[in-house]
């Protein structure tokens, strides 16, 4: 593997990380919004979301990506490979995040909500000051776990022609006729990315514990 190969692996790593971060940044709040609709039991919307989430959780990234990339243009929405990749990964992670948020909401103690109501807090204030800070804490480990799963699902975007770590490694292997060195390098890069997410979670938790002690 020459220096150019390392450069294209690094570019692939950037693409993987950028796509994953974009999907996480949109998917986390989207999943929360869906979970809140489910939690409130909004008529029609709640069962519709339940079905959609169940479908998305069973959808392989490859298949969903192909659907979005090839079917949207037939209904007049032209979409490039990168946005299609982001939409695919976002939908998948939002569905899983929705279930995680919903689990945390369902476990939220009722008495706290009633106490907040009794001092005259509006629904929005209750959510912002009482519910969100606490469910963020209880849901964090599962959310970070889902982020690492998303990174592992991200090579699905290869079918759209997006060059992420995996596809960069395949290309180098095809050019040099030695596939194992770039694959090993890709393996190390993925491990580093996954490890970074776990590290970030540990840092956040340590900080919060320090803040609680102080």
């Amino acid at each position: 593997m020459g220096p150019g190969d390392w450069l294209s692996l690094a570019q692939g790593a950037l693409v993987t990380v950028a796509l994953s971060l974009a999907a996480i940044a949109i998917g986390l709040p989207l999943g929360l919004a869906l979970a809140l609709v489910r939690w409130r039991g909004v008529p029609y919307a709640s069962p519709a979301i339940a079905t959609l989430v169940s479908l998305l959780r069973a959808a392989p990234g490859v298949t969903l990506g192909l659907l979005i990339f090839f079917a949207l243009p037939t209904v007049g929405i032209s979409i490039e490979a990168i946005p299609a990749a982001i939409v695919t990964l976002t939908l998948i992670t939002a569905a899983f995040d929705c279930e995680i948020w919903r689990g945390a909401l369902v476990d939220f103690p009722r008495d706290q909500l009633e106490a907040a109501q009794s001092v005259g807090m509006t629904a929005g204030t209750r959510l912002r000051l009482i519910v969100l800070p606490q469910i963020l804490r209880s849901a964090l480990p599962a959310l970070v776990n889902e982020m690492t799963l998303l990174v592992k699902a991200s090579p699905a975007v290869a079918v759209l022609g997006v060059v992420d770590i995996t596809r960069a490694a395949v290309r180098i292997g095809a050019n040099t006729y030695e596939p194992l060195p770039p694959f090993s390098a890709a393996l190390v890069i993925y491990s580093l990315v996954v490890f970074l997410f776990v590290l970030a979670q540990r840092l956040v938790e340590r900080r919060r514990r320090a803040a609680e002690v102080a």
Binding site: A58, P60, V62, T63, L66, L67, F70, T74, L180, Y190
Partner: protein
């Protein structure tokens, strides 16, 4: 749209073949990786620190690799070791080896939660070594792990779609062929997604049944 569905219906055998291939791949690799994962879980729980650490490192490494990358390593790596497999068998092999690590890790989690008294009672009744593991430890461990194992089977079903990239003729591959031949992106991929859904909901129902059965036996 309706003409699209009509064309799709005409070529339904393509989708059905793909569906059956996916079903086969998932069922075979779930069973094989559960069996091999049980063996690996024994290594993970071994008293010898060398064995436990080496198998732990193997499992951790596997849990950091995306399945597609691992499938590529098998697909391109095995021939360079002088082993030639068809696309189907190297795909199946990759699914089995990859998920063996995940199954072992799930079983280890359940094993840790097993009450010590149960193992001590086994000792008292003269169970030791592999018989203790097989008759006393593994049955409750596997029953306790069933919900997680079910989730992993769903992951296997979804991961098997990656195998379309190495030209295994599974469900997503069938949908792609229909899309390319008849230009039916919507009908073909939506039907494929619905079939994946059916499979996953089926696994969830099965897990619920086994869970109820286990609860009744307690």
């Amino acid at each position: 749209m309706t003409t699209g569905l009509a064309i799709l219906w005409e070529h339904r055998d393509l989708l059905i073949d793909g569906f059956l291939t996916t079903l086969w791949l998932a069922a075979l690799s779930a069973l094989a990786s559960l069996a091999l994962g049980s063996l690996l879980a024994i290594a993970l729980m071994a008293r010898r620190p060398m064995v436990a650490r080496a198998s732990g490192a193997l499992v951790d490494a596997m849990r950091c690799v995306p399945f597609l990358l691992f499938a590529y390593i098998i697909y391109y790596g095995l021939p360079s070791l002088g082993l030639r497999f068809s696309n189907w068998s190297s795909g199946l092999f990759a699914l089995i080896v990859y998920n063996t690590a995940y199954m072992a890790e799930l079983l280890r989690g359940a094993w840790r939660g097993l009450p010590v008294e149960m193992i001590e009672a086994g000792h008292a009744f003269g169970f030791h070594g592999i018989r203790l593991v097989r008759r006393i430890i593994l049955p409750p461990v596997i029953l306790a792990a069933v919900p997680m194992l079910g989730n992993q089977v769903i992951q296997i079903i979804k991961d098997s779609a990656f195998l379309t990239i190495i030209a295994v003729e599974e469900l997503t591959h069938a949908a792609t062929v229909i899309q390319q031949t008849y230009f039916l992106p919507f009908a073909s991929f939506v039907s494929a997604l619905l079939l994946y859904w059916v499979l996953c909901v089926g696994v969830e129902q099965l897990v619920r049944r086994v869970g109820a059965h286990a609860e009744a036996r307690r």
